[in-house]
């Protein structure tokens, strides 16, 4: 019966197309969210990946490696995730294809990167803002005041997590002189000295 065939086509073809689209999208989103894709597939983020290994954010509280997307792309598959993933993906693709010869200016990269670090990602591990991620040590008095402001208990702060917490996972050359980054800078320096001695 031609009419039935027509209905069948109208229902099944879009469903198959949608399923295929979702499947391919999911596969692509997952494949472009791995650590190796960011750092070695295109080579752009090698320095950042190397620095991450010496930062306090190399491993999470369970001891697992923290990958780029755990901080840089909002968690879940919601609109925030899709917006940042699309924007960053297209930007990275453009830079890789058309600006690959130009040096990456890290001071500029910092601004874009910080803009898209979602507080939700930080709070997944740092659920208690008055203790460290493992819940062992309490924060300093200044940290308590700042977090009171963040939570709206004492004044208000429109600065999100990375407004104050900078250089927690990456440390470009020009930020190594900052006193607060002393320990992180020393770890990188020791590693670089070791590498030079080899």
């Amino acid at each position: 019966m031609p009419e039935k065939k027509h209905t069948y086509r109208r229902a099944v073809i879009p469903a198959v197309a949608l399923a295929l689209f979702c499947g391919v999208s999911y596969a692509l989103l997952s494949a472009t969210s791995t650590m190796s894709f960011c750092s070695s597939a295109c080579h752009e983020m090698e320095a950042q990946a190397a620095e991450l290994r010496f930062s306090s954010h190399a491993r999470d509280k369970e001891g697992g490696d923290i990958s780029c997307v755990r901080c840089h792309i909002p968690a879940g598959f919601g609109p925030r995730y899709m917006a940042v993933k699309t924007y960053s993906g297209l930007k990275d693709l453009y830079v890789h294809l058309f600006r690959s010869g130009a040096p990456l200016l890290r001071a500029d990269l910092q601004k874009t990167a910080r803009r898209f670090i979602d507080d939700g990602n930080c709070l997944l591990c740092h659920d208690d803002l008055y203790r460290d991620a493992r819940g062992e040590q309490t924060v300093t008095d200044l940290g308590r005041i700042a977090h009171d402001a963040y939570l709206g208990k004492n004044g208000q702060a429109s600065s999100r997590c990375v407004g104050c917490h900078i250089n927690i996972a990456h440390l470009p050359e020009f930020d190594r002189r900052l006193e607060v980054n002393g320990l992180f800078a020393e770890r990188i320096k020791n590693k670089e000295a070791e590498r030079d001695a080899d």
Binding site: P79, R80, A83, V84, T86, Y87, K111, R115, F116, L142, I145, A146, A149, N154, G155, Q156, A157, S158, S159, R160, G163, C164, I166, F174, D175, R177, L178, E179, V180
Partner: protein
């Protein structure tokens, strides 16, 4: 194949709305400027800027300390005013250059305006906090004092 103008127009309009909406959402959900010092809801008792800001805005503070302004001890309040609004300088994260910079640098600003025209932002060439005397982050040289017209 005959191109249907109405359908094409509708499709183009939808694409434009889609792209515009995407960037609008991105701007709303991830604003570029976040900190406007709104945390100073109770401004009394915040006389010592440096004791907090050396930790919470370490980069800005150290840049200032290493800059000419820091070495000459031009303190925060000279440009940023006081959080309680007292004094003649309005409290602002981004001070108005015509009001603030010109208090000390008016002759130089007039020379710059005569040479390059007005309407430029001082901060573009002379980063206020990032003009250190010693560190290698020295970005733009200041005027030598021999500026000719």
């Amino acid at each position: 194949m005959r191109i249907n103008m109405k359908t094409t127009g509708l499709a183009l309009a939808l694409i434009c709305i889609g792209i515009g909406g995407f960037f609008l959402y991105l701007d709303k959900a991830f604003p570029e400027v976040r900190c406007e010092a709104a945390h100073l809801a109770a401004p009394e008792g915040y006389e010592d800027c440096l004791s907090c800001h050396v930790k919470v805005t370490a980069q800005v503070t150290q840049d200032w300390q290493e800059s000419k302004h820091g070495v000459m001890l031009v303190k925060c309040v000279v440009c940023h005013g006081e959080p309680d609004g007292k004094g003649s300088i309005p409290f602002a994260a981004r001070p108005d250059q015509n009001m603030i910079c010109s208090r000390c640098h008016d002759p130089a600003m007039q020379r710059m305006t005569a040479k390059f025209g007005g309407g430029m932002d001082c901060n573009t060439c002379h980063p206020r906090h990032q003009n250190p005397m010693h560190a290698d982050a020295y970005q733009k040289t200041a005027a030598s004092g021999k500026t000719s017209f």
